[in-house]
């Protein structure tokens, strides 16, 4: 007498199917690799290609975000230029000026690097 067919697969049989699915998983085409790498290049060129690698290799996300928000290095230069102009015409306090310029050029420069010496503009010392 033959036994009736089982109504479900066993655990082992199901595992065999899962293994087959893993072995037969589709592989990415060369075209997909190419498209993905083109995307990576385009994003890097647009958003963050010029950022230097800091010591330790970790990102400085706050700086990257500010730079991207301002439109890259040209935007950062614009920020520094605007701060300089603001200082000259008196609408930006010296503290704000140095914060903006340090953000772009670093902390090495002092007030004398940006302002003409007082005698040149006609003031007595």
């Amino acid at each position: 007498m033959t036994r009736p067919p089982d109504k479900t697969l066993s655990e082992a049989e199901l595992d065999a199917l899962f293994q087959a699915a893993e072995a037969e998983a589709p592989l990415p085409s060369a075209a997909l690799f190419s498209r993905a790498l083109s995307d990576a290049e385009a994003v890097a060129a647009q958003d963050f290609a010029a950022e230097p690698v800091p010591d330790g290799g970790l990102a400085a996300p706050w700086f990257a975000r500010i730079k991207r928000t301002l439109g890259g290095w040209s935007g950062m230069s614009g920020l520094a230029g605007a701060a300089t102009a603001g200082l000259v015409i008196g609408s930006v306090s010296p503290d704000m000026f140095f914060e903006a310029t340090e953000l772009v050029f670093g902390p090495a420069l002092g007030a004398s690097d940006y302002l003409p010496s007082l005698p040149v503009v006609g003031f007595d010392e």
């Binding site: 109504k7 479900t8 199917l17 589709p26 997909l32 995307d39 990576a40 963050f48």
Partner: protein, 191 residues
């Protein structure tokens, strides 16, 4: 030269290198991650072309988030599986297609074939049965039993509890076992 010369470097570190202009890091990440994304997307969608589009889109989102990525907060693969599932869900909502496009004919019973044909037949039959599962069961079963992830990581990807993952995979497996029992002989199992 090794296919992935940076195989010892973590996904996090590669992403940080890419964010600082290292093109080789992007290549290594693509080689490493694209097959996993594609496989998972294919099992959720059942369509190779759509799965490739989803893979490209998921990687594009990874490139964009790279400068803001916080190492150690989440695994890159966890984030990618979640993005992939969301992209697949969006596509399935837009176009309700068959999930069966790529399923090849089952090999006829002749010399119960060559192991490769048998594996193809089994994978194809499983894909058909997976397609009939509710989406969440399909995702959980695929991640647990084909991608080989642990339940805690699946819980994070699917934003549910570990117990819910266990329930989804158990119900999914029961349904698969029942559906596929009728094809036991086709699949090379003892009748």
């Amino acid at each position: 030269m090794a296919l992935d010369a940076m195989s010892e470097v973590s996904d996090d570190a590669l992403l940080a290198r890419y964010a600082h202009g290292d093109r080789e890091a992007a290549r290594s990440l693509t080689l490493r991650l694209a097959p996993r994304i594609l496989g998972h997307a294919f099992r959720l969608l059942g369509d190779r072309a759509e799965a490739e589009d989803v893979t490209q889109e998921a990687l594009l989102r990874l490139w964009r988030i790279a400068p803001d990525w916080r190492p150690g907060e989440a695994k890159v693969t966890t984030w990618l599986y979640r993005v992939t599932a969301n992209l697949c869900t969006d596509r399935l909502r837009r176009t309700r297609h068959a999930l069966l496009d790529e399923v090849p004919e089952i090999a006829d019973g002749s010399p119960a074939a060559d192991q490769t044909l048998l594996a193809k037949s089994r994978a194809a039959a499983l894909q058909v049965a997976l397609a009939a599962l509710p989406a969440r069961q399909r995702e959980a079963v695929s991640l647990r039993h084909i991608e080989g992830l642990g339940n805690p990581e699946i819980a994070e990807i699917m934003d549910i509890s570990v117990e819910a993952v266990e329930s989804l995979t158990a119900r999914g497996k029961r349904a698969l076992a029942k559906t596929l029992a009728a094809r036991r002989a086709d699949l090379g199992f003892e009748p």
